[in-house]
Symmetry: D3
Subunit: 237 residues, 6 copies
């Protein structure tokens, strides 16, 4: 019996959506069908609260379409977990955020970790998730490199170097013992960064997919009791 | 010199918008022009995360229009402070949430307080604001009565009684010393509830308006350094 | 390529070990080999700190044996996650505690949850894990029924009824939206309890197995940088 | 109808009292009568807990005199909010501390802020207020320059430069997005510091006055239920 | 070599001062000279913030006198630890608050405890100390009986019964495992309450005396680096 | 009447055990009999979680032997308070950890402190105790020097210099006002470090002994209600 997992990319940049889908399919279970989707209209990257608002509308629309198809679980593939609680209200199955997944994995493989995100203005979003999960005492610091999300697409040497330099500071100055990558679509960096740093480097998208598979296998679905109950009809635009 | 304050009602229910405007004008300074506005399209009430997402889009549109008019400050007139950080990115002047304002006023007039909100599924939104401001140790409990926002419009005796009964429990069982009203548009209840309970009953909308006036008078504007900087153009739909 | 996951039962009760193995094999991926093991000598159940101390020695011995066999990941199958950090020092692969896994799953499928554990004296252990993960604001309350671990083996109607009664209180009085089962080996109760309560009921053992599979698939291993580095030789008795 | 607001300066330095009064009158509403007062005997500056104890006696005496005059609200004009809860017990109207007001304003105009106070030994008092309001997660750091309160009276170039240098560190090293001035009577620095730094610089005294006006307009008074009830007679020396 | 410990009773009720001295002498080391003192003028009991302010002035005067006599350590013998940080600035030796001592002892002999204090309006002071020491997670609840401090002097059967009834609720409803007595001068209740309840009942005064002796024996003195440095001269009235 | 206090050294290094005993006897009350003991088999030093597990078994055995002898109280003489809750379950009298004692003493003599421990991998254990006592807001930072526990035995000039250099950073960079020594058996450094630094330097072993004496004098014993009740028989190997 196949399991359909919708990988929701909150931004409209096709290169990202495709890359996310590939990264997940590479580690998905044989029975899992990974559907990578992005909103038809929205924002090409999510770098501020206004972007998040716009992207959430698209994510809700995608979730409603997926519900009609009987989708089993969702992954929100953007650091900050854009619109995750709105999607949880719409979804029947579990909704796993890549940020929450990365942070939870980090606590499992390391006593302390730091996040290296980009650009600096998104530190506030990362901090929101850290606090939502109560992990301020395990997350040593949220660091950022001064690169725009768009400029990550190339995944070039400059980006890799900047990430490694900042991560080394996290190990040496913060007391971090693992690094959480603060942007989706960087899974190609995991290998070289792990090699260079010698500690776990965590890409939340892949971990989120596996957790989503796991929760489905364990028979868990989103609680519809109170906070994340199905929204009253009028809120669906 | 007049000060223009935009009172943003996140829902589309005209009766609420009008009532909020009246309540604020009654206590505004003579130099303040209160403009009460609501999105043209959106949700008739904000009772869940999906509602918040929809409403935020409308609030952003209103904020952009107001910026073009040189508006001095904003009040978000919905418990939960719908979309406040997105509006802060767009706004030049201060943006005051009715929830944040109510909680801050509560800490000034009482050592401990409880919130009485509605309906129960919005407890999670109230808790989000309490934690965003770090007030879990001052907010004794978030209580809810089982009434929909729509059913508040009438402001009838049943609503008043339910609010008083729940507030009495807050005083007797929680150790609360003031009550925060967990919904906009209930300012008419402040008088009878204060009479019945003998403790401060706080309507955040009015307090938010006065704080907004105060921040403008003190010359403060929203910081554009990092987290709430003006969004990159692409995020404006 | 098969993945070997060692399911470590800290107590010496064979019936528990067998039951845990079965429950996990039922949801394991086809490529996963689940090896359920318990210490040869130790304590028949883990109900206090002294029990935990004794059980940890056994778990460390098992982990050393498994390391020699190239085991890919570990699950600690006891509520309280007995000895987990000591095992993490010995292990190369990820070590997932059933408690941590249950709590993380709970935050994914519910805004708030309560734990129902047994017997009452183990509340302190559950609280230790909740605080280690920083989840005091999401875990509404830790409840306990007055039953010994040994008396769970029968999984009879009395146990089920007691668990349902206590869980109902969690939903009605605490504001919980999901229930975490506070003891390993209760997976047979998940079905009837979910049926009775209408909210997610979470058995950490199964979830832990799936997370362990996921972390292996994502290529993550325990950080050997600092806190969980391999112990100096002398500490191995 | 006029509103009488007593601006209580806890120290006995007349130059400070006069300056505070002027700064507040410049932004007060036309209907507000600002009465700036200081104890007849006490301490010339408040720089330690012993100073606070002495100053509190004077503040209580002033508050009792003001109560007899029907004063509508109070502002405590000293960083650390000297004796604020004792004054709240005596007062009928709201009592607004300049520190609490500054911190609340800071959370409204910036996601994160730092405090720059003086001298270093008062950091502990600033931290007390930050924790009383629960804002440790929003206040990035409390910095201090090595200048005595007395030496602030001159408001000279040296002081300005020291404040700007320390504030720049707050922006660059702490991730602050606004600066809270940690001493009363520095409102003349707000202009040049804002100019130099490009972020909101917050003088709590002015903000406190405006919040006090606002709470009066909103009809709020200090809760007399329990913690801040009128003291039993014997405690009035 | 004798050790002089000044037992500072913040209130002026001689019966209390005498009783505190006797209770401490009964458990003091042979080399300890216990000097029980109270301010000449002040408040007969400490039940609110205004009382605390008045009492602190008296405590500071006593501390200055004791410093001139070479006193080795101090105990603040009032629940809430009236004026403790002001006294610490004046003192060379350690200053131990009965509340802090009681809470620290409670964490040593019990995983969780509750406080039973009086009257209800002092709950806020107890909570201040609990938070100052960071013990909100170990202190299950602060309960109060509706009795004035003055009415404790008699130590009669009614008081004992009320304390036992409230403490039983703490054990049964809060999950407390020890009881902290929230008022000085109740040491005579320790015996009968321990007998009735079967858990540790902690009188902070005695514990504080013993901790003070211990810190002196260990050669520790109050840090004069920064926060608790000797106050500048002007603050001594 | 003599009081027997068992000083439990979790490691098997005789030089440490002897040194600890001497240091404690030097400050013990005349009536106190200090019995310094170490496990017959175990680990020569405690530097990781695996070490702690091994050492705890030995401590439990010692505690059971001491209980049979009517021992009045216990001190756990290892930074991290190895196995303290397991010992508390076995003990009738109070069990005082040197880490808990040091932290509590630090809050009494200083507003803020830092810990200087060794080697770096034990920072996680120190942090566990800091959080167990809720002192993250008072402990400015946990620093470590890169020295193994074994290398402390010599107590030579190199060690002293390293400790002073790191402690100076704590005072200058962290805002610490006292230093907690993060290893047992360093009491000989207290004198020279205090001399060099001019702030309290706290050796937890001595303080723990005096607190243990104090709790015995105050008649307190470990609560046997729930969390630390005597373990069921089967857990005693």
């Amino acid at each position: 019996m196949t399991v359909r997992i919708a990988l929701l990319n909150p931004n409209t940049t096709d290169a990202f959506t495709a890359r996310l889908g590939e990264a997940c399919r590479a580690i998905a279970s044989p029975d899992t069908v990974v559907v990578a989707r992005a909103p038809a209209v929205g924002t090409p990257s999510v770098e501020c609260h206004a972007d998040e608002a716009v992207a959430t509308i698209g994510l809700m629309q995608l979730a409603r379409e997926e519900e009609a198809l009987g989708t089993d679980a969702y992954v929100i593939a953007c650091f900050g977990d854009t619109g995750i609680d709105a999607v949880r209200e719409i979804a029947s199955g579990p909704v796993v955020g890549m940020t929450e997944a990365a942070l939870q994995a980090a606590t499992t493989v390391a006593a302390f970790f730091s996040i290296v995100t980009l650009p600096p203005r998104t530190i506030v979003q990362a901090e929101r998730v850290v606090r939502y999960l109560g992990l301020s005492h395990r997350c040593r610091r949220i660091r950022a490199i001064d690169v725009l999300v768009d400029d990550c697409i190339a995944l070039d040497e400059t980006l890799l170097t900047a990430m490694i330099v900042e991560s080394r500071k996290a190990l040496d100055e913060d007391g971090a013992e693992a690094i959480v990558l603060g942007c989706a679509g960087l899974s190609a960096l995991v290998g070289p960064m792990t090699q260079a740093l010698g500690v776990p480097v965590i890409d939340g998208v892949g971990v989120a997919l596996k957790i989503a598979e796991g929760l489905v296998a364990a028979g868990l679905r989103t609680s519809k009791h109170c906070s994340w109950a199905t929204p009253p009809r009028h809120s669906v635009p």
